[in-house]
Subunit: 385 residues, 2 copies
């Protein structure tokens, strides 16, 4: 069900030939209200795709009626023509739905630098067809239409007492930075105003999607959108809502990690004993982006020296000779020196747990990443994406 699980939403996913495979490639999600509240966070990449440039403006009033998403083309670095394509897509949706174009968000994903007349015609046709096929159980179809290199759709639903959240995601990476573009739409029938929605969304993404760092590459098209219908009539406690939104977000982030391009290990990097949460994030991210460490994990090699070499590049507060490291529960490094022999560590499971204790404070953070594999290189070299 994904985005149509909560009351007040309709969705559709259609195929219009943007994908050479003929699979679904345009998704539409419409908020039937009564509230039309929206919030969104965007890639922090300065090289922003046209849909990002559009949606950043459209979201400023906190009102969102609908969102149109296409795969099969990122519409990024396609010049004025590309921006007009995004604009026309919003206008087409607005006209058919009887709403303002400024309340329609647009997301695109696919190859950068392409977006010709044929692309525009297909996106517009998909918008029209998608709106014609809108239904209250269209969430599953929508989640399929946003897939690119994804091997499976990502969906999540969290139900509370009388209200719920539903989400869909695509991508094999993260919000910022991102492996492939990450697009996420989360809906709820809880009652929230725009400020509440924005705060809850930023809090949830900051600790979930933002901490998924599959390959350190930031997309031009990442967008996470929260749509609020208020159809349940229930205004939950803000903390309770934030927790539920974080739960959906974490679930979708885990699904993205588990489907990262070419990965053979899902690596959870838990940094403990940091002086600040920022330090913990910096240390975890440095490890997540270290190709030598990631290749070692692919080779089932508990090479903790590469962990220390990676964190030594950060400005975080710690003494390299006071750091402890565990891999899959085995303490391989104590105070910057060897502990258990590497033979004691079993890295054959896909789930890999790395724990780094900086021993300077009590702050923690967890970063999710993947290993660097032959298949990753293959998927990102054998064809354009």
């Amino acid at each position: 069900m994904s985005v149509t699980a909560p009351a007040g939403f309709e969705a559709a996913g259609v195929a219009v030939g943007l994908k050479s495979t003929g699979k679904p490639d345009v998704a539409v999600v419409v908020n039937r209200g009564p509230l039309k509240v929206g919030a969104a966070v965007f890639t922090s990449n300065r090289a922003k795709a046209n849909p990002i440039l559009w949606s950043e403006q459209a979201i400023t009033d906190g009102v969102v009626e609908a969102i149109v998403l296409n795969s099969g083309g990122a519409n990024c670095f396609t010049g004025a023509f590309g921006f007009q394509t995004t604009h026309q897509t919003a206008e087409k949706a607005a006209e058919l739905l009887g709403v303002s174009a400024g309340d329609v968000l647009i997301c695109s994903t696919g190859l950068i630098g392409t977006g010709d007349d044929a692309f525009r015609a297909k996106v517009l046709a998909g918008t029209e067809q998608g709106i014609a096929e809108l239904s209250a159980d269209g969430g599953e179809a929508a989640s399929l239409a946003i897939m690119t290199t994804d091997s499976r759709p990502k969906r999540s639903v969290v139900a509370r007492d009388g209200w719920s959240l539903g989400g869909m995601a695509k991508g094999a990476g993260m919000l910022a930075p991102g492996l492939a573009t990450m697009l996420v739409v989360i809906t709820t029938d809880a009652v929230l105003d725009a400020a509440q929605a924005d705060a809850a969304l930023r809090s949830a993404t900051g600790r979930t999607f933002d901490r998924l760092d599959s390959d350190g590459c930031m997309s031009t098209n990442d967008q996470v959108t929260l749509l609020v219908s208020g159809a349940s009539g229930i205004a939950p406690d803000p903390d309770e809502f934030a927790a539920a939104l974080a739960e959906v977000s974490a679930d979708l982030a885990k699904q993205l990690q588990g489907d990262a391009e070419g990965a053979s290990h899902d690596i959870t990097i838990e940094v403990r004993g940091a002086a600040s949460e920022e330090d913990a994030v910096e240390v975890g991210r440095a490890v997540a982006r270290n190709n030598l460490f990631k290749a070692a994990i692919f080779g089932n090699d508990p090479n903790w020296g590469r962990v220390l070499a990676a964190i030594g590049t950060t400005a975080a507060a710690f003494d390299p000779y006071d750091v402890d490291v565990w891999m899959n529960g085995v303490r391989v490094c104590t105070k910057g020196g060897p502990d258990a022999p590497r033979e004691a560590v079993d890295l054959t499971p896909r789930a890999t747990d790395l724990v780094i204790d900086l021993n300077v404070g009590d702050q923690t953070a967890t970063i999710l990443t993947n290993d660097l594999t032959h298949e990753y290189v293959h998927e990102n070299s054998a064809y354009s994406s």
Copy 2:
């Protein structure tokens, strides 16, 4: 000849079983003077190997009599025992050479976190054997003994009017950051004082080794050392010396790039039109560290969208929609939009030229990197290093 090309130097390379292959693994270079001037730059990684901790102290007076280098073990994160091994190595060399231990530099390269009694005994034996075999044509043997994953030794000689420079290097990466450890020793018989040597070395490394960014991973053991014998009796113009040192450094850096682990393309990233040289370096480095771009080059795919996505993550001054990009001489992107079709670009040669014009100023910088290949993943996952 490498380090023994200039007058006043002797060197040796011996095999003592640090490498399981039985190949040479300990090198010694001795400065016979009359000057005993030295300068060195070290990895900026906070996780420093024991030889770095030692050499950083030993170089402070600008006097260097000798340098002992071993492959087959990085002696990093090996605790107090490892530091004592480094210390004992310097004392052993000093005793045999009749000099002060504080004037002997040490370099090590190999696996992090290993360095037991057997390692120490072999390094000490190699030091003794190397000093016994010192000769004025030992530069070639020394250059072989510092190799690890290198497929070939790296040597360079630049001769000027009556004085010369000779160098050797190992590693498939850079000073900071580095792919594998980079160790470089450059000798000269020109007459310089310690301050001149230090200034010239920092200038040369800053624009050569520091701009070789093969995989963004910084080593714990990188060291570039300049030894000055003054045996020519000639004190060159400082600018002329700096230019010659930069020439040797650039030559060795190019050789390191050309032998990077698993690489199939040597990529030269030239950033033009930057507001500052720092901006140009930041932009070039962001591209050099982008796995998606590097994998695309491996696949001979002129995916300029990944270039723009990479530079969009920097804080450099530019407008993404005013950037031009050339690949192997073909202008593929003009003002952030598509230009020549990708079919026009031939990426099959190993040498790959990427030019990025930011169109905001007149500063430039060139960063050297490599592509991300199956072989890179294999070499860094199939065994520990």
